[in-house]
């Protein structure tokens, strides 16, 4: 039990590698380094890329996806793969947030957090305690959430009933507030994952759920708490997104579900669970925003940006898979 609760290095290889494996690892590392160098060279050779204004734009673009992706990181590390209900959750919570503006910013934020936690927490409880398939469950949940939101709103956009939301669009020090929130939350989630019993249990449950159960870890409760945390982070994303757009409807989330998944995977978190970190997800979100920015500065269309995002995710997933395979060899 003691050994289970205090893993020394979760990213460390699980077994010694042979000489052949070492060579393969060297090749993978060289490929990764070359890819990073190529991205840096392309970036620096792109007009207006290396400017303060552009750096702000990249981290601002990364911030909303990044906060949602932090939530998804908890879900993924815990072995629940992904949630496909992020965008509908953000949309529904964003609608609640704006419609509650007449109560003031803080009560509206509290309502948004409560909604996010309840909506996602319920799904987490079903996954954790009843071992439901998270993908199937969240597909069903996304339909249910969207249907409910349409039923309540009649399909109309929700306009803010007060002006408190505009505080979320503030730019202290010239940087969007959402960026500061992203950084603080990334550090907080990372600390929770690395330094608390909950975090260590989550890694172990994600790595091997049956073994964790046999070892007496509270699998259901830990999974449900991870989803509750994710729900809170989705709610924060919802509040910032709704405030930025000044209105919200069931389409508010847009492509957020897949953007968040892309950020998590691009950061190197294993889709199989048990590996990854909040800081990696932060890096993944910034990487994708940075590459999209380079493509836009170079005049490529939105379609090309989406395609390249897919290629980045594919590249990282293959690298992570090869490394995982190596560490288990």
């Amino acid at each position: 039990m003691n050994a289970l609760s205090t893993p020394a290095r979760l990213d460390a290889p699980a077994s010694p590698r042979g000489r052949q494996r070492s060579r393969a690892d060297v090749v993978i590392n060289v490929i990764v380094v070359l890819a990073v160098l190529a991205a840096i060279v392309v970036g620096l050779s792109t007009h207006r890329f290396a400017t303060v204004a552009n750096a702000k734009a990249i981290i601002t673009s990364a911030s909303l996806v990044g906060i949602a992706a932090l939530g998804l990181t908890l879900i993924t590390i815990g072995g629940s793969a992904v949630s496909l209900a992020i965008a509908p959750t953000v949309a529904a919570v964003g609608m609640m947030f704006l419609s509650a503006q007449s109560l003031g910013l803080v009560p509206a934020l509290a309502i948004a957090l409560l909604c996010g936690v309840v909506i996602t927490g319920v799904q987490g409880a079903v996954v954790g305690y009843a071992a439901a398939n998270p993908v199937v469950l969240t597909i069903a949940a996304s339909f249910a959430i969207t249907g409910l939101a349409i039923g309540i709103s009649g399909g109309a956009s929700v306009a803010p009933t007060g002006s408190g939301y505009d505080h979320l669009n503030a730019t202290p020090g010239g940087v969007a507030l959402s960026v500061y929130v992203l950084i603080v939350l990334a550090v907080a989630v990372e600390w929770t994952l690395r330094r608390t019993g909950f975090g260590r249990s989550l890694y172990l449950i994600g790595a091997n759920r049956p073994a964790a159960r046999v070892a007496g870890l509270p699998v259901g409760r830990t999974t449900a708490v991870a989803w509750l945390g994710a729900g809170a982070l989705f709610a924060v994303t919802a509040a910032f997104t709704a405030a930025f757009n000044t209105s919200a409807n069931v389409n508010l989330g847009g492509t957020l579900t897949f953007d968040a998944i892309a950020a998590v995977l691009a950061g190197g978190t294993s889709i199989a669970g048990g590996r990854g970190s909040a800081l990696r997800t932060l890096a993944g979100a910034v990487l994708i925003a940075g590459v999209s920015d380079i493509l836009l500065l170079r005049g490529y269309s939105t379609g090309v940006q989406i395609m390249v995002k897919g290629l980045i995710v594919l590249f990282v997933v293959v690298i992570v898979h090869l490394r995982t395979k190596g560490s288990r060899a």
Partner: protein, 346 residues
């Protein structure tokens, strides 16, 4: 062998049989339907709406514009005795399926919005073969089937023209004879976006000092539009963008938020002039606040009223023109009070 395994083994063939039966019935129905086109449409061109069946393949209620259009359109026609079969959706693939379903229902009229013009070409041709009249609303159909359908269309070029007029007027009011303009469009491949840009560019060309420096596909997505705007303000800087066009109000407002976050002034004596089009409540509020220079109508209520009136005239045998354009209006602070009511429904 577990009980669940046993049940699974037993259920699979039943499901397969059920599915096969459904496919068989569907094939039989479609086979009986093919080639037996009667003159339903011709018979429908008289006697009013009472008892007429209209299959409505419109936008889904998950779109605010569609939700309000549907409520007005359906209420108007049902009040006059028509039966509306709701086949609305926002998914282009489902829309094709629903349209085909509508053909097999053999209604008196199919009223459709074209989410994907290309994929609707074949269904429209099938409806024509089956002698079922089709009325398309909002966006125009593919040119290959332009003569096969009746149309009540938003005047997209006029909307683009109005947006350009808003920017020119706003920039001139700031005393600027030249300036750089960005545009974040709806889905670029769609006729609505293309036609709006056509009108926008043509109107802007009348004032050569104003140049469009960047056009990006915002895909009618406010969040994506905000991201793109954030990047464009970084790319060109505050001094490099004097005007911005968000093709819908819900795209224009994220542009304003992005400009503010980039530290750029918005509106006023020297700030970025931003315009939207198809007006929404938040756009009207922003015009009143002074952050959005203007918008244009294309509100769902007006086009729903006109489409319903067209259907009524059609069934009354009045033979309305094959194509009607909805008159679009430019909205600025000068006349916002006049359009506030009609623009705050979605």
């Amino acid at each position: 062998m577990t009980i669940s395994h046993f049940v699974h083994q037993r259920r699979s063939p039943t499901v397969m049989k059920l599915a096969a039966a459904m496919v068989g019935v569907a094939l039989l129905t479609s086979a009986c339907g093919d080639g037996s086109a009667d003159d339903t449409a011709a018979a429908a061109t008289g006697g009013g709406l009472k008892g007429k069946t209209i299959d409505f393949v419109g936008y889904g209620k998950d779109n605010p514009w569609g939700a309000y259009f549907n409520s007005v359109f359906t209420a108007k026609l049902e009040a006059e005795g028509a039966k509306i079969v709701d086949l609305t959706t926002m998914d282009p693939g489902t829309a094709v399926t629903n349209f085909n379903q509508a053909i097999s229902n053999r209604p008196d009229l199919i009223v459709a919005a074209l989410l994907d013009t290309s994929s609707m070409v074949v269904p429209i041709k099938k409806a024509k073969q089956a002698n079922i009249p089709v009325l398309v609303f909002d966006g125009r159909p593919d040119p290959s089937v332009d003569g096969d359908v009746m149309q009540v269309l938003s005047d997209s070029e006029a909307l683009g023209t109005a947006a350009a007029q808003n920017l020119v007027e706003g920039l001139k009011a700031q005393g600027k004879d030249s300036g750089s303009i960005i545009a974040i469009t709806g889905t670029k491949s769609g006729f609505a976006s293309q036609d709006r840009m056509k009108g926008f560019e043509a109107e802007l060309a009348k004032t050569p000092g104003y140049k469009i420096v960047d056009v990006q596909d915002g895909n009618w997505d406010p969040t994506l539009s905000g991201k793109i705007a954030t990047q464009l303000f970084a790319k060109y800087g505050c001094a490099g963008i004097q005007g911005a066009y968000g093709m819908a109000d819900y795209q224009a407002l994220p542009i304003i938020a992005a400009a503010k976050q980039a530290g750029c002034a918005v509106a006023g004596k020297n700030g970025v002039v931003v315009t939207g089009s198809n007006c929404f409540k938040v756009g009207i509020d922003a015009i009143k606040d002074g952050t959005l220079y203007g918008t244009a109508t294309e509100d769902p209520g007006t086009i729903a009223e006109q489409t319903a009136a067209y259907v009524a005239r059609y069934f009354n045998g009045e033979k309305p023109p094959a194509k009607e354009l909805v008159k679009e209006e430019r909205v600025t602070a000068a006349n916002v009070a006049q359009y506030a009511e009609q623009c705050t429904k979605a």
